[in-house]
């Protein structure tokens, strides 16, 4: 009850300050399972997109909240869990997980079995228990020691040998991807938890999610490069619709370091859904997704 009231109050404030207008271009607001991915400029992005969604979708859509910011006071924790129904992610931990996927591609001896089945499989086993998967582990250990700092270099280095996939020709190109998230999840999950695990959990229970694939907030107008979590989730849940979204102007409402928001109109533009093409690589897909988000700025 209290959460509901707070939700209404918050919604009123957000509308008063920013208008929180949703512009649906390319797809209607629809109660299907979706992954909304948007640019990230401010912590308020979460609130913005939450407020822009229609009431009916808000209850089945769970935004992602960075634990270090949104859970550092009891009030914020209460509001994120009770009002926004958010999924917490560890920002620090996203890096290793994202770094991992490219690794298996280095040895493209991944299974060439029916891709879809294989994609679905990891979804089942990621969270509940890790034991049965251990046999599949071998490819993983090599990059367990990738540090977050080394992430970018690793990614760059591994991006270059993208050509190698030729060996397994056209159709079986996808399997590496399937293996990709199966593998990375293990090293990360073994000690604590896979950073993507909460999202996978939310998706498996049928909720839509809102993610910010840049990982951190940008300071410029241009979004940064997308992290690979989006690709991982997209290949894991091929039936979930991927909707790009552009959140406009939020950084002006509350720039970094300020606490009082200024009333400035903001809008959230939802674009046409995209999907991972048959055999599409990780980086091209992420760049395409990023372009889809940026394109919404000018519609």
């Amino acid at each position: 009850m209290l959460a509901k009231l707070t939700g209404w109050l918050l919604l009123g404030i957000v509308r008063l300050l920013t208008g929180a207008q949703a512009r649906w271009y390319g797809c209607p607001p629809k109660a299907e399972q979706r992954i909304y991915f948007a640019n990230h400029q401010s912590h308020a992005d979460l609130v913005m997109i939450w407020a822009a969604l229609p009431e009916e979708l808000r209850s089945i859509t769970r935004p992602i909240a960075a634990r270090d910011y949104w859970a550092n006071t009891p009030f914020k924790r209460w509001i994120t869990t009770e009002v926004f129904n958010a999924v917490y992610v560890e920002r620090a931990a996203t890096a290793p997980a994202s770094a991992a996927p490219p690794a298996p591609r280095a040895e493209p001896e991944a299974p060439s079995a029916p891709a879809r089945d294989r994609v679905a499989a990891p979804a089942e086993r990621i969270e509940p228990s890790m034991e049965p998967l251990l046999p599949m582990d071998p490819p993983a250990p090599p990059m367990v020691d990738i540090t977050p700092e080394a992430f970018d270099e690793v990614q760059r280095r591994l991006d270059l040998p993208a050509p190698p996939p030729p060996p397994p020709v056209a159709p079986p190109v996808e399997p590496p991807a399937a293996a990709a998230e199966a593998a990375p999840s293990e090293p990360a999950a073994a000690p604590a938890a896979d950073p993507l695990a909460p999202l996978v959990e939310a998706l498996r229970s049928g909720d839509s999610i809102i993610i910010f694939p840049e990982g951190t907030r940008g300071h410029t107008g241009e979004p940064q490069k997308f992290k690979s979590g989006l690709y991982t989730l997209a290949t894991m849940f091929p039936d979930v619709v991927l909707v790009p979204a552009w959140i406009d102007n939020v950084q002006r409402v509350m720039p970094k370091g300020e606490i009082v928001p200024v009333p400035i109109l903001c809008s959230v533009t939802f674009g046409a859904p995209i999907r991972v093409d048959e055999g599409e690589e990780r980086r091209p897909f992420l760049d395409r997704a990023r372009a889809a988000v940026i394109a919404l700025r000018d519609v």
């Binding site: 406009d248 903001c266 809008s267």
Partner: protein, 329 residues
């Protein structure tokens, strides 16, 4: 009829005005509702016609909303009416700031404008402190805003940014605050009827803008300042002023003015309003936007409130101060 209206108390007269407005709205809305059942033979025309009707009905909905809001504002007294106009000023300023680029260093000045200047200005109106209310923004705020900006330590485009903010405050807050201020003017023998003055101003100014717009659409004359406005030319401007002023003069019976006086104040208000509209158009061209919000589709989500009220924002202060000076009200 006239005798009957005159015999009513001021409150009853205002109520009668609202009754007439709501009656007209009911008639128009009912007609529009029945029109939706009509079908055109050509499906293409039908679709276009239905779309236009839908747009028209939406506009009608806005009119209903505004009429109800005004009625509630009047029914609940001057304070509520002032709060109402404060809200309009807030939304207009929000739209203005959205479409004027600001930098991080402006954040504190913006907070000052929205959460300090605006409430204080309208509080001054509500408490009828006319002397302070007249000078508060042009004197105190115009000095305070640049100070807040300077303290933010960001010199780039300093003058430009401050000018924009000051201009926004001037138009949206200062201008708009003069509309409820009309409610507090006191004319001998006109107590309790100030709501008519607000109605008079809004009605006359909107008529002039509307007539001017329609005439320039119809006649297709050469625009006088094509880079600023493709529709502005002196002929349609003159006709708009003349028509609206005449209408204003005919409505002199709801004001404390005589026929000639009503004509004169109407001319003043119309000139100020239509010129203000032109100035706001120039600002819009500078920002490279056709409207302050084009039917809610702009990426900023601005919905064009400023387009509706900009003429009023310019007309109100001039109207207010000229009648206050002339009639010593």
């Amino acid at each position: 009829m006239n005798q009957f209206l005159r015999s009513l108390t001021p409150t009853e007269q205002v109520a009668a005005l609202f009754l007439i407005v709501f009656g007209l709205l009911v008639v128009v809305s009912t007609t529009a509702f029945f029109l939706t059942f009509r079908e055109r033979r050509n499906p293409v025309h039908d679709a276009a016609w239905q779309a236009e009707l839908a747009h028209y009905r939406k506009l009608l909905g806005t009119t209903w909303f505004m009429a109800v809001v005004f009625w509630v504002g009047w029914a609940l007294g001057e304070t509520v009416a002032t709060v109402l106009f404060a809200l309009i000023a807030f939304f207009a300023l929000r739209e203005f700031i959205t479409l004027s680029p600001t930098r991080r260093g402006d954040h504190r000045s913006l907070i000052l404008a929205f959460f300090v200047v605006l409430p204080i200005q309208f509080w001054l109106v509500a408490t009828a402190r006319f002397d302070l209310f007249t000078v508060f923004i042009p004197v105190y705020v115009f000095l305070a805003i640049p100070v807040a900006s300077a303290l933010a330590d960001d010199p780039s485009h300093f003058l430009e940014r401050n000018a924009k903010l000051q201009w926004g405050i001037m138009v949206c807050v200062y201008g708009m605050s003069h509309v409820p201020a009309l409610l507090l003017l006191s004319f001998p023998g006109y107590e309790g009827k100030s709501a008519f003055l607000v109605f008079f101003l809004v009605f006359v100014v909107q008529t002039s803008v509307l007539v001017q717009h329609v005439i320039s659409r119809r006649t297709q004359r050469k625009p006088f300042a094509p880079n600023v406005s493709r529709s502005f030319n002196w002929t349609s401007w003159g006709i708009g002023i003349a028509v609206a002023s005449l209408v204003g003069a005919l409505f002199s019976f709801i004001t404390p003015f005589k026929f000639g006086q009503a004509l004169a104040v109407s001319v003043i208000a119309c000139i100020a309003g239509s010129m203000g509209h032109l100035v706001m158009k120039a600002l819009k061209r500078d920002r490279g936007i056709p409207n302050w919000g084009k039917k809610g589709v702009g990426v900023t989500g601005a919905n064009g409130l400023l387009d509706r009220v900009d003429a009023l924002c310019f007309a109100a202060p001039i109207f207010f101060h000229s009648i206050r000076w002339y009639f010593n009200a």
